[in-house]
């Protein structure tokens, strides 16, 4: 699809960046003066951005399908330095507008929820400042028309994530988790950076149009290398294997953060990166295959972890990892899966955000308790939370006709349709993952809402205030209906077609894959119900080896510690020692030898400097003499 200049209302697309940026600047620089109304401003900027996004969407729908990609240059960042010129430019096309609506729409709901959730926090204003910063960076990430702008947003959301995971930074665990998330993301960023360098070195451009237009003439090896480096970046941001371990710790952040950043939007940026880079991945089957492998492995990995967590937020975090695995898997299928990845991403944005807000609502009423073994019987006292969470539950496990059914099952179907051994293996992994998902989500439901209360002594849960429940209700409606809306009559597939191409086959609403999935889902529900219907032990049973491993995040941290951290610490210590004794020792030894007497360097006396300077001067004069005599 060719990109056309932005016209009319789209000229104001810079507002998408300016509104939340202004909000963040006012709230972070304004300090305590803005305490009283800071949260309102934070919501207002996001809502205004959403309103603009919706208007832009309407304008876009008015254009013929082939003319929907519109570009606006906001300002020149690097004027031509050699061949390199970089603009802060905005590309509004069907793909980016989906994200704009998701980020600002779900973002507004979560911010409204946070007004209630963070009401007791004296630093609420700072929280809203960081959230605005996040929204600005996330929008930059998805609407940039070049890889450098995307990268600026990419690291910007990493910063916001760092600040918000560590929002309660007086808690050491939060501070450590924040740093861990940033460093793990930087490992991914290393890949994305090198991918950008490779693009520039090969085609002399970093803009989407420039790169995509010329990449076809580059060699296969180069294209695959770029694809793999992009994948590394995606793994860091989207918590995919092997860079997954930070996401579980990131649950140290306030729950609205988990909902917006670590479920609905930021962690899906990796999927965006791959779908946006479709013209690159289309050229490399090897890179696509690795994407699917990473996705399939992570979807099982996250699901297994989700089964063993007693912390409700960590169970949901495992689930997020797993669901993003599905999206990656779909994206790795190429044109057959790009639109499916985005569809699942959007419906996941609704139901996972809803689930997290529900979890936050429970946590809020349970005096910040997150251990599901201390929950139980909440169905009776928190009915809105129960119903909305329940809809999210049904959506994520894929019970028809809720969202997950429409967006997850086609991914499984597409895997099998890929054919060959890889198709069968990927499809099977996705199928099994669906069953496990049904199990762990049923477990969460049973432990939290069913059975008899096992509450902390001083907890008196009742329903949270409307400012918190109403966003949950809206998200629940989305969880229920988004999938059908997006997938029926190929609505999203058709909308995205100009950007990501045409899938080779149409997806049936009922297919063998969806029947098989449904069977496994029912089995998972049955197993979960059978295991927890008689109540939940207050102390976790020892469990099998798999359970123990899953509780320890399948040894992801142990691996990092023994393979990266320990050797890294030794390397650091060795380097410090080498620097002090080796290099600096040599310098001092030479100085001592020149000055005579090794103790003199320490007992500096007057005249010492002078004698040294003199001896060096003599040396220099001699050298000069030699130089002039030899006459090079």
């Amino acid at each position: 699809m060719t990109t056309l200049p932005a016209a009319g209302a789209l000229h104001a697309a810079w507002l998408l960046l300016a509104l939340p940026s202004a909000g963040a600047a006012i709230l972070l620089l304004g300090g305590r003066r803005t305490d009283r109304w800071g949260h309102l401003l934070g919501c207002a900027t996001t809502l205004a951005a959403f309103a603009y996004g919706a208007a832009a969407f309407a304008v876009m729908l008015g254009y013929p399908a082939a003319q929907r990609a519109r570009d606006l240059r906001v300002f020149t960042w690097f004027p031509g330095i050699g061949r390199l010129s970089v603009d802060i430019g905005i590309l509004l096309d069907p793909l980016s507008i989906c994200f704009v609506l998701l980020i600002t729409g779900v973002g507004s709901l979560i911010l409204i929820y946070a007004i209630g959730y963070m009401a007791a926090d004296t630093e609420r204003r700072r929280f809203f400042g960081y959230m605005n910063l996040f929204i600005a960076a996330m929008l930059l990430l998805v609407i940039s028309d070049n890889y450098v702008g995307l990268y600026i947003g990419w690291e910007g959301v990493g910063l916001a994530s760092y600040l918000l995971i560590g929002f309660w930074q007086f808690r050491p665990a939060a501070a450590v988790a924040a740093k861990k998330a940033f460093v793990a993301n930087r490992v991914g960023d290393f890949g994305l950076t090198l991918a950008i360098f490779l693009m520039f070195a090969n085609v002399g451009s970093v803009s989407f149009t420039g790169v995509f237009g010329a990449i076809g003439t580059a060699g296969r090896g180069t294209v695959t290398a770029i694809g793999l480096l992009l994948l590394l970046g995606a793994c860091g941001k989207s918590a995919q294997l092997p860079l997954q371990s930070w996401l579980l710790d990131a649950m140290e952040g306030p729950t609205p953060v988990s909902a917006l950043i670590h479920a609905a939007t930021m962690v899906t940026a990796g999927v965006y990166l791959i779908v946006r880079s479709a013209p690159i991945f289309n050229l490399s089957a090897d890179a696509r295959l690795l994407v699917t492998i990473v996705g399939a492995a992570t979807l099982l990995f996250g699901a297994i972890i989700g089964c063993a967590k007693d912390d409700i937020k960590k169970a949901l975090a495992g689930s997020t990892m797993s669901q993003i695995g599905y999206m990656m898997l779909a994206a790795g299928l190429g044109p057959a899966g790009y639109a499916l990845a985005i569809a699942h991403l959007l419906s996941h944005g609704f139901f996972k955000a809803g689930l997290f807000l529900g979890a936050g609502s429970v946590k809020h009423e349970m005096n910040d308790e997150v251990d599901m073994r201390r929950f139980g019987g909440l169905r009776a006292v928190m009915q809105v939370t129960f119903v909305t969470f329940g809809l999210g539950y049904l959506a994520i496990i894929g019970v028809p006709p809720l969202s997950g059914y429409f967006t997850k099952d086609p991914i499984i179907e597409a895997c099998f349709a890929k054919g060959g051994v890889s198709g069968a293996l990927l499809g099977t992994a996705a199928l099994i993952g669906a069953g496990i998902t049904a199990f762990y989500m049923t477990r969460v439901m049973m432990m939290t809402f069913a059975g008899s209360p096992r509450w902390p002594d001083d907890a008196h849960p009742h329903e949270t205030p409307p400012v918190m429940t109403s966003p949950m209700v809206v998200l629940a409606i989305g969880s229920a209906g988004a999938g059908a809306f997006l997938m029926l009559s190929n609505r999203l597939v058709g909308f995205l077609r100009p950007v990501v191409g045409t899938p080779p086959l149409a997806y049936a609403i009922v297919s063998p894959a969806s029947v098989g999935t449904l069977a496994l889902v029912l089995a998972g529900i049955g197993l979960g119900w059978a295991m927890y219907r008689r109540g939940v032990p207050a102390v976790a049973p020892r469990g099998s080896a798999v359970t123990v491993a899953a509780r320890k995040d399948l040894y992801g941290d142990a691996f990092n510690e023994s393979v990266l951290m320990r050797p890294g610490q030794w390397l650091t210590r060795l380097s410090v020692y080498f620097d002090n004794r080796g290099i600096d020792g040599l310098v001092n030894t030479i100085a001592a030898a020149m000055g005579g007497g090794s103790g003199r360097m320490r007992r500096v006396q007057t005249g010492f400097v002078r004698s040294y300077a003199l001896s060096m001067l003599v040396g220099a004069v001699l050298l000069l003499g030699v130089l002039l005599l030899v006459r090079l």
Partner: protein, 534 residues
């Protein structure tokens, strides 16, 4: 404009300030404690006014500079020692100009931040400073500014050398007499190491003159004529080495770096800012101006070696920084890593690399300057340089912690902050010629995240340690000192163009002189894009 001696005035203003300060009676003068305090206040305000005046002049210069105009502007040339062709010749291209402006911005900031440093108020606990003279300290600062402006403005190689060496003297006393810890050891090490390099350079400078006088011509030290000198390949290499070692020590490039952590840890924070922020830049500035342009063939020949040392420095400096326990030493090692990036950009011989390297010199001055100053404010409160003595500072001093975080993020080159723009340019410019070296250097972005955020975590987060519980947040004077630096870091990060527009033409000229062209991409994209502007 053409006749007004801008550069001389900019350089002379601080010197005049120093002269005024010299006439203020010293501590031994009659009068009580109150009299002395009043005199000290006068000294400090004089220093502030003088540095602000110099900033005004350099700011006007930056505004009047025409990037599309002649290479050197605001030039003045007077014969100084005609027998040897030595001139008082000054002038700036875009590269020198931005470095002078950076120096002029840092000076009032340092004066403000150093308000009580001469009295030793910020020294670690248990270190009673000897009776020190406030006026000498500020006079030294001002003299140093004159030298720093001079060294960037000189267009006569001998004049450059004079400033290059003379700069050492005020800094030597600032570390040796006013520093903390092993200050004398550090000062002597700094001086001797620099002198060693300087003398090697002197040899090369004189040899250069001799060559220029070959064949009965009148010898000269003027820079531009020297760039047209036809030197044999061997001669180029030897002379290049003489300059390069001096600059590599100054910068400092691995493995000549070990004096820097000692000097930075022993200097007062303000002095450390000038040491790392400006003095060290003379090394990298010297490389791009003198090593490359005077000896183009040798620069290409030595290129791979310089690239190798740079990459080692980037990774090595970062790894060693992670292992530091002292705040100031940690920052010094991060600078070793960052200087590696700067030299990498210079010797990559691409327009992006060199624009990035020059822009990095400016940004590093602001970012590391802010970091040193904020750390200095912390040390002045807690009376310790040890990281382990802090914890939970964010809770008691949120503004200090917030600015410290921004400065740390600038240290790890976060996009949106100016350091990113320069680091990105350096790495992408290097990548087009030396893929492996750039890829290795890019690992620095991961290591930088570790050393910066770990430092922040250990000092600022967690429960409030009892020793920091009473820590005051930033005072207005301190805020006025670091606030402008933080603002510059953010503004230039979002909109780097004003500085890049100044640097660009100068770098283009440099590349022409060294006969280097950017590698051509094998599969160039078709230029031109459909887009509109708001």
């Amino acid at each position: 404009m053409s006749t007004f001696p801008w550069l001389t005035v900019a350089g002379a203003l601080p010197l005049a300030g120093a002269a005024v300060i010299c006439f203020v009676p010293g501590a031994a003068a009659p009068g009580g404690e109150a009299d002395r305090a009043r005199r000290d206040q006068f000294v400090k305000w004089t220093a502030l006014v003088a540095t602000l005046a110099a900033l005004g002049v350099t700011g006007a210069m930056a505004a009047a500079f025409d990037p599309g105009g002649p290479r050197f502007q605001f030039t003045q040339t007077y014969s100084w020692i005609p027998q040897f062709g030595i001139h008082y010749a000054v002038g700036v291209d875009g590269i020198a100009l931005v470095l002078i402006v950076m120096t002029a911005i840092l000076m009032p900031v340092v004066v403000l931040a150093s308000w009580w440093d001469a009295e030793g108020r910020g020294n670690p606990a248990g270190e009673q400073p000897p009776k020190r003279s406030v006026k000498t300290y500020f006079a030294l600062l001002l003299v140093l500014e004159t030298m720093m402006i001079g060294v960037f403005a000189a267009t006569d190689v001998f004049l450059f050398y004079v400033f290059f060496e003379a700069m050492l003297v005020p800094m030597y006393f600032m570390i040796g007499s006013y520093g903390v810890g092993q200050r004398q050891y550090a000062a002597v090490k700094f001086l001797l190491y620099s002198l060693l390099g300087g003398l090697l350079m002197l040899v090369a400078v004189i040899a250069l003159y001799v060559y220029s006088a070959a064949g009965g011509r009148a010898g000269t030290f003027l820079f531009l004529p020297l760039t047209h000198l036809a030197l044999s390949a061997t001669a180029q290499r030897w002379l290049f080495a003489g300059f390069f070692v001096a600059f590599a020590i100054k910068a400092p490039l691995w493995p000549f770096h070990t004096w820097l952590p000692d000097a930075a840890a022993s200097a007062q924070p303000g002095a450390a800012v000038l040491l790392v922020g400006v003095l060290d830049k003379v090394g990298t500035f010297g490389m791009i101006r003198y090593c490359l342009e005077l000896f183009p063939a040798a620069a290409h020949w030595f290129g791979p070696l310089a690239i190798t040392l740079s990459v080692i420095g980037v990774v090595y400096g970062a790894v060693v920084a992670i292992g530091q326990r002292d705040l100031k030493r940690l920052i010094a090692y991060t600078s070793v890593s960052h200087f590696g990036l700067i030299t990498l950009g210079i010797f990559a011989m691409t327009s992006q690399g060199q624009v990035g390297a020059t822009f990095y010199m400016v940004n590093h001055g602001f970012a590391t300057g802010a970091l040193f100053l904020i750390v200095g404010f912390m040390i002045a409160r807690r009376r310790s340089q040890q990281i382990a003595d802090y914890g939970g500072v964010q809770k008691v001093a949120p503004v200090l912690a917030g600015l410290f975080l921004v400065a740390s993020l600038a240290g790890l080159a976060l996009p949106g902050l100016s350091t990113f723009a320069s680091e990105f340019l350096v790495l992408i410019g290097t990548f087009t010629r030396y893929e492996a070296a750039a890829a290795l250097a890019t690992t620095g972005i991961i290591l930088a995240a570790i050393y910066m955020l770990w430092m922040y975590q250990r000092t600022m987060t967690g429960p409030v340690r009892p020793e920091v519980a009473g820590m005051r947040d930033l005072r207005p004077r301190e805020l006025w000192a670091v606030g402008p630096l933080i603002a510059l870091i953010i503004v230039l990060g979002v909109y780097p163009r004003p500085v890049i527009d100044l640097i660009g033409p100068a770098v283009r000229q440099t590349l022409v002189t060294v006969h280097a062209t950017d590698p051509v991409p094998p599969h160039p994209a078709v230029a031109g894009q459909n887009r509109s502007t708001p």
